[in-house]
């Protein structure tokens, strides 16, 4: 039992070490590439096209529900005028970055993992090696930098439409004063809050992209039976690990931000 726990911990630590090394390579390999802007725009476009619709839909509904829930809590204390502030802060600091990241992982992260996994199995990664093209730089780096740019942008979309959703339920449906709703937001939300929220988005972008790319890139080593089954295994794993990592990092970053 103890030895089993020990073995698993050793494997986890060595896996994390490999992931860190892989991420290091991916983050520095971009300048060695050609046509950087082309690759970067294509990657950003890929994430954007895949994820903008779902981000907007989920953002809107989250705002709607949040408006409803918080309204009923706040009326108990006769302070429904605080609704704008409550909705905005919970979305900007917490729900926006976390939900957006989970949506992107489901849409783009899984696709990334599967695509790179299939490329591994089809010898495309070996082909890049023989052409002296750095495969991590070619396949992973543009995706990483695209995520660094796209995660905060998509999170901002989520935040804005979520706050508007809160307005729709709170003001249009339940009759909170519109002036109060928007004013409380202006007064209560600081630049620091926004920065903190987007910082989370940035970290989630890096962590999840690296996890998804790493799983796909080494699908031949990480699956029981390499091949189609292996790719499905590693893709599932990429999504699960990414989701766990989002919540873990969320907790970590929040505690740091609270402390400072």
């Amino acid at each position: 039992m103890i030895s089993k726990v020990g073995r698993h911990s050793i494997r986890l630590v060595s896996e994390l070490g490999e992931l860190a090394g892989f991420s290091g390579k991916a983050s520095v390999a971009l300048p060695g590439q050609r046509h950087i802007m082309e690759k970067l725009t294509r990657s950003i476009f890929e994430i954007g096209v895949r994820c903008v619709p779902i981000t907007l839909i989920v953002g809107l509904f989250t705002g709607l529900v949040l408006g409803l829930q918080l309204y009923y809590v706040l009326t108990k204390f006769s302070s429904e005028s605080l609704l704008g502030q409550a909705v905005a802060l919970s979305i900007i600091l917490e729900i926006g970055p976390v939900f957006t990241a989970i949506m992107i992982v489901g849409q783009a992260g899984s696709a990334l993992s599967a695509e790179i996994g299939i490329q591994r199995n089809a010898e495309q990664i070996d082909a890049l090696h023989t052409m002296q093209i750095n495969p991590i730089g070619f396949l992973v780096s543009p995706r990483l930098w695209a995520a660094i740019i796209a995660f905060p942008i998509l999170t901002t979309f989520f935040d804005l439409i979520g706050i508007y959703g809160g307005y729709l339920t709170g003001v249009e449906l339940l009759g909170v004063d519109p002036g109060a709703y928007w004013n409380r937001i202006y007064e209560a939300v600081s630049v620091q809050n926004i920065v903190n929220g987007l910082l989370k988005a940035l970290v989630f972008g890096i962590v999840t992209t690296m996890i998804c790319a790493f799983q796909g890139y080494y699908t031949h080593l990480k699956s029981d039976i390499p091949g189609a089954r292996g790719v499905s295994q590693t893709t599932t794993r990429a999504v699960v690990y990414s989701s766990i990592a989002i919540l873990m990092f969320d907790y970590l970053i929040t505690s740091f931000q609270m402390a400072s």
């Binding site: 590439q33 050609r34 046509h35 490329q119 089809a122 010898e123 495309q124 070996d126 082909a127 090696h129 023989t130 052409m131 002296q132 093209i133 070619f138």
Partner: protein, 238 residues
């Protein structure tokens, strides 16, 4: 290019866990020649090519061309073609030039379109790999291997899955390009004896060792006993 005339493989060993795939391979491959590696499926022919190309690190042994360590620049034509399915035929062939080397965009365009013309692929140049036939994919992979003018091209079963006519046209292509550009061919093939016509040397890989190494004519004139069933396979009497 160095003055080397041979590619020297010395004591190449490769094992996966318990399974010894290459048990110490020694070969002197004349540069500029065509060597064909034959042998049963699963004996390690692809592993041998991958070790030569540097894709796989051998457990022991060395590869050298003259005084230089390691093999000179190799192109590799993969068994499954390894084309990028999100790129068109044209983009696939241009890839090694676009991502490496000094060629300018206009020169790349010209070299790619000339080569596509020669390989009869011009009509397919805007198509994606999924939209063309297996034989065309092979030719695209060949074009991508040729485009950089490498010193050595490694071919892993370039004709597997092709009809007899296409098979000969691929062999023809390899022979005529080798004549023209003078690169070294190391090829894995099951197409015995057709492939003998274009080969200078035959290497028979079996149980991790080179059991035969010589010209096709010598091989046919005086085949080792174990190799006979491979050269002339027959159904066992019913």
């Amino acid at each position: 290019m160095s003055e080397a005339t041979t590619l020297k493989l010395r004591g190449l060993k490769k094992a996966f866990g318990e399974q010894v795939v290459l048990g110490g391979i020694d070969m002197d491959i004349p540069l500029g020649s065509h060597t064909t590696v034959i042998g049963k499926s699963g004996t390690g022919k692809s592993v041998l090519l991958k070790c030569i190309s540097g894709l796989m690190a051998p457990d022991a042994g060395s590869i050298a061309a003259g005084d230089e360590k390691g093999a000179p620049p190799c192109s590799y034509m993969f068994q499954q073609n390894a084309l990028f399915d999100s790129m068109t035929v044209e983009e696939n062939v241009a890839l090694p030039l676009r991502e490496k080397g000094k060629a300018k965009a206009t020169e790349i365009k010209k070299r790619v379109s000339d080569l596509l013309e020669q390989l009869d692929l011009t009509a397919a140049r805007k198509k994606y790999p999924a939209e063309i036939s297996g034989g065309m994919k092979k030719r695209v992979a060949l074009a991508r291997a040729l485009i950089t003018n490498p010193e050595i091209i490694l071919f892993d079963e370039p004709t597997t899955g092709l009809d007899p006519q296409r098979k000969y046209s691929v062999f023809d292509m390899i022979r005529s390009y080798r004549k023209r550009f003078g690169f070294t061919v190391i090829m894995v093939s099951h197409d015995v004896p057709e492939v003998f016509e274009i080969s200078d040397k035959i290497a028979w890989l079996d149980a991790g060792e080179i059991k035969y190494w010589g010209t096709p004519d010598d091989l046919l004139a005086n085949p080792p006993e174990d190799l006979k069933p491979f050269l002339n396979p027959q159904l066992s009497p019913a």
